[in-house]
Symmetry: D2
Subunit: 358 residues, 4 copies
Amino acid sequence: MLLSRLRAAVLGATGLTGQRFISFLHDHPLFKVALVTGSSQSAGRTYTEATNWFIEGTPPESVGGLVVSETRIRPLLDADVDVVFSALPSDVAGPIEHQLASHGLPVFTNAGYHRMREDVPILIPEINPGHLGLVRHQQYNGGYIVANSNCSTSGLVFGLRPLQRYGIRSVTVTTYQALSGAGRSGVASMDILGNVVPYIPNEEHKLETEPRKILGVLRDDHIEFADFRINASCVRVPVLNGHLESVVVELEERVSVETAQEEFSTFSGAPQELHLPTAPTHPIVVLTDPDRPQPRRDLTTTQQDHGMSVKIGRIREKDGLLSFFLLVHNTIRGAAGASVLNAEFAAAKGYLPVRGVN
Amino acid sequence: MLLSRLRAAVLGATGLTGQRFISFLHDHPLFKVALVTGSSQSAGRTYTEATNWFIEGTPPESVGGLVVSETRIRPLLDADVDVVFSALPSDVAGPIEHQLASHGLPVFTNAGYHRMREDVPILIPEINPGHLGLVRHQQYNGGYIVANSNCSTSGLVFGLRPLQRYGIRSVTVTTYQALSGAGRSGVASMDILGNVVPYIPNEEHKLETEPRKILGVLRDDHIEFADFRINASCVRVPVLNGHLESVVVELEERVSVETAQEEFSTFSGAPQELHLPTAPTHPIVVLTDPDRPQPRRDLTTTQQDHGMSVKIGRIREKDGLLSFFLLVHNTIRGAAGASVLNAEFAAAKGYLPVRGVN
Amino acid sequence: MLLSRLRAAVLGATGLTGQRFISFLHDHPLFKVALVTGSSQSAGRTYTEATNWFIEGTPPESVGGLVVSETRIRPLLDADVDVVFSALPSDVAGPIEHQLASHGLPVFTNAGYHRMREDVPILIPEINPGHLGLVRHQQYNGGYIVANSNCSTSGLVFGLRPLQRYGIRSVTVTTYQALSGAGRSGVASMDILGNVVPYIPNEEHKLETEPRKILGVLRDDHIEFADFRINASCVRVPVLNGHLESVVVELEERVSVETAQEEFSTFSGAPQELHLPTAPTHPIVVLTDPDRPQPRRDLTTTQQDHGMSVKIGRIREKDGLLSFFLLVHNTIRGAAGASVLNAEFAAAKGYLPVRGVN
Amino acid sequence: MLLSRLRAAVLGATGLTGQRFISFLHDHPLFKVALVTGSSQSAGRTYTEATNWFIEGTPPESVGGLVVSETRIRPLLDADVDVVFSALPSDVAGPIEHQLASHGLPVFTNAGYHRMREDVPILIPEINPGHLGLVRHQQYNGGYIVANSNCSTSGLVFGLRPLQRYGIRSVTVTTYQALSGAGRSGVASMDILGNVVPYIPNEEHKLETEPRKILGVLRDDHIEFADFRINASCVRVPVLNGHLESVVVELEERVSVETAQEEFSTFSGAPQELHLPTAPTHPIVVLTDPDRPQPRRDLTTTQQDHGMSVKIGRIREKDGLLSFFLLVHNTIRGAAGASVLNAEFAAAKGYLPVRGVN
């Protein structure tokens, strides 16, 4: 049977994260953007008209001409889609994602709404590939919901996973988070120009909780959370893209700087083995210059990287504490790119339908 | 006897910290700026001509007309000064401050050169007034050197001192440091615009060491350092003035948010008791809005504050850890204002000469 | 008769311009803030609670405790006010200002709604004091409306007025406008960080029209516009406060740099003669350093200036064209300060009631 | 004869403009980087070691391993190069470029030193291809010097050339210039954060003079300058790359917005006809959104553009004046890319040697 690309819907496609979804999906080998949704102001206009495109150049041609639908259940079901990507705000995401899954659709979501549900995995295929199996316990009629993590979490877990074998006792993380994390109009310029703001609503709670779920162990129908404390302090800084995080890890076993560097550099997982289209060659890139990583300069090491690798630098060890800085592209590895990789992984594992050419 | 104001020299008076010294001293009740020194390019020009004045308005009249001297020992001794304030870079500061003290002069310095010497106090009169006594052990002929702390240290110790009675086990501090900390041309705009840089040479070492000296106990001729570990991560951010610090303190005794707030708000010391001219009414000001303190908005609470109070906000308690953010004006409480306050305290304690009116 | 301060209402008091009104009026010798209005969200809360205060420190005590009213006609009439200051958005301002004037109240407004009406003066007392007389032609029952100019206009006219005697043929003005001109949340940080945006809706039209009215001649019941062309290009830049304008004036008579400098420096008007409380000593301050004026450094020359003087620098002359840069504080001289000065001038000219002490 | 790529030297290769040269030349079909020079600090280190690489990713492999030479005549002659590209500072550039040309080498320079010499063309092949012939009058032994224009000039002339047939009477240009125009450390962050600086040394003079040479007519051995006046005002803004310019042109013949748009969009020249490797498909791209072009968003329309096209937007016409904004990538079309295109054009016209494969 000749296979066709799966028909994908992108919910909330006109916002910053939605644009990243389009950017990853418009020429994807497995998926084809069949439907884009947006707010009632956007609905009825073409994607190009409705979108204030923030990425270099202009919206891709294959999507730019699609007419934006409102984010409602009916047009979504009518569109004969095979898979749904959601860049919706959390409160809007909850009910509609639930409905779509109930109608048998696989939903890969960036929204936080279902993330802490016992039967929903926060999937990062390099880190917890087995958690995908949790969706079998979702009470949907064939459909399911797979979440990616919060943007700052997506960086932190890459800094912790390679250290887990040395016994993590506690983690202190302090962030420098980019404006795009709050969306297109989330931070007023009068508030942040020449300033930093030591408060991001709910962010610290997510960063203290989600990593323990992601790094936990799948016990049949639920995740047993990893057993260490995380203390998070989250700050907005005047940077466009890229969350920098200062991480201090207390370990049971002393880990030298060289060992840590080795563990980070050689870390690899399922997406690399499976050569998934969106997988970076190296999930973690260690930078050795003394003043790196820097958000404006180090988000992409090469164009092949797609912003999917996490950068780590300034690794230091003292008094049994391992300290380092890590940098993650918040709207790519921390949002859209993460969900696209999740869907690729699900496809490779047989969790997505196949579609024959008519 | 009618008393006259003491004749003060300001070394390195044209730089950012030097300007703050001038700003504090030009109309001071105890001191009168008698001499300003600068680089060889500045020497021979008036202070106004030689200075790219960064503070509001223009250089004060009483100083603007002074001719800048080179920072050499001879003109300094000739000028008949009673007290020296030093805003010199550390490497230049070392030998000349030593010479001036050897010639019997009291030197209040912002430079780091002598700071960790066993017989030099890092004085913050609200915190360790007794350490001033250490100068008696300096082998100078009547002169002495009193240092203020590094700028990021000056904030941290205010966050720690009121908690010390509860038993500090360890401290993790992560900073958001302003551009002015690197001096007028220290950070190129191409490096920091829309960026943060996770490296400030030597800063982390200072921040891990100096507070333990300041919070230590004077044992006759030396300080016994406070016995807890500090882990520091220091980052430059695109902010003009004001170092923000994220602090996590592990305490022996559990301290509630309310208790911490009370301890911070009511903290007071010798400068307040003595009503020293540069002392803020409250050394620590607790801000209760959820997104404060912010460097651009909270450096001065009132004009009477002079930038000398430390702001603390977002106090949180969990798992026996007390977390909060603090903000300090790096070139005022962290530099020039600190040394001026030190000199005022020294005067009140009889460590400065008096000068009669001729 | 002992005189009491006039009871003033400030409409739209919680926004950036409203805050500047409060800042000027809270301890004013002629006016006393009796009523503050805001949006329905603000109404019912105290001014301090309702306001995200952007100026240094905290809202002044005498106003901070006032309860914010909604901006409706009834509470305004009930409050027994003598004079109204309006910081409302233009569309909201139109009808309510009209109603208040109809009820006999003098209204000093920053809103643009009535500005181009034939019987409403755009008053700048240093420049067109006689235009105040135009209010006699307004068909209100004792009340009247006096507008201040658009913020960028308020700078330009100070650059043109002293040159008008040399015959202005044409003006080309290009702006660098601050974020605060768009209000507290007007410009999203994602749009302006590391960027400039060459478009401000309606701004160019205002800047090409209003100065010709202000610099025009009062002919009984209307203003004869000044007879020269203005070409304006307006750009938003990442600056908090202060509009910088590049001005090129084609003059009938050649004017040397020295003459221009002299004309600007010595320019003075009615507010200076009358020693009005908010009048700057010199309405125009000429800066001679080659790289000034700069918005972040030159908005206030001294604290006495209150941000009410316009700074001019880099005056050049070539080919019969006089070029220079000017800087105006957009929310002070370009908004709130302007209207307060207008009211002071109106009081001095007998256009305001007097209120005896009961 | 099989042809080999020409051996190119890049002078001043480690700076921002030098890096752009490397970026254009490392995989160029006609040129091969054979030698890179730098300061005495850089000399002896590999290009990768010596360079703080500001462009995305890391220095290209084919150049990264080259050892940097000092910028002196001897190693340059020893290296058997066929063509020289110069990114040197103007004062250093003068003598060495002269020497290299005297030794028979073609020099394509971004430096200003020789730009206004009567026998040196400021070449922009889309605009004044014939000016290349001027090099025949240079008194060098086979070598010659071809300059590209100053960065702000490089944008302006594209805005003027298509209008020249309508008779340009005068031009007023006001700039918003990026930090990279001043080099890596040219602008201190303390000077420009939240600020704009209305002064760039010598820039206005260049912008008032160079375009008249470029748009002039070759008369045998010299250029007859175009006969209109340019009035320039130049300002530094906190933008990383891209000079925005507000242009007002007084024309003899009225030109409608539509006509101007048509003239700009269809403008094309020799590099397009010859399909030179670095030539953009359209030298001018007209943007029709009301708030464009913006430096951070519009420097490259597509990756194929290489930053070589000039963007024009907000075209307006009134009172016989045509106004618009243009945007040029200052270190690409305004510097390195310009010189590479000049060399490609010279090669196509037979002004460069050919090199056979040994």
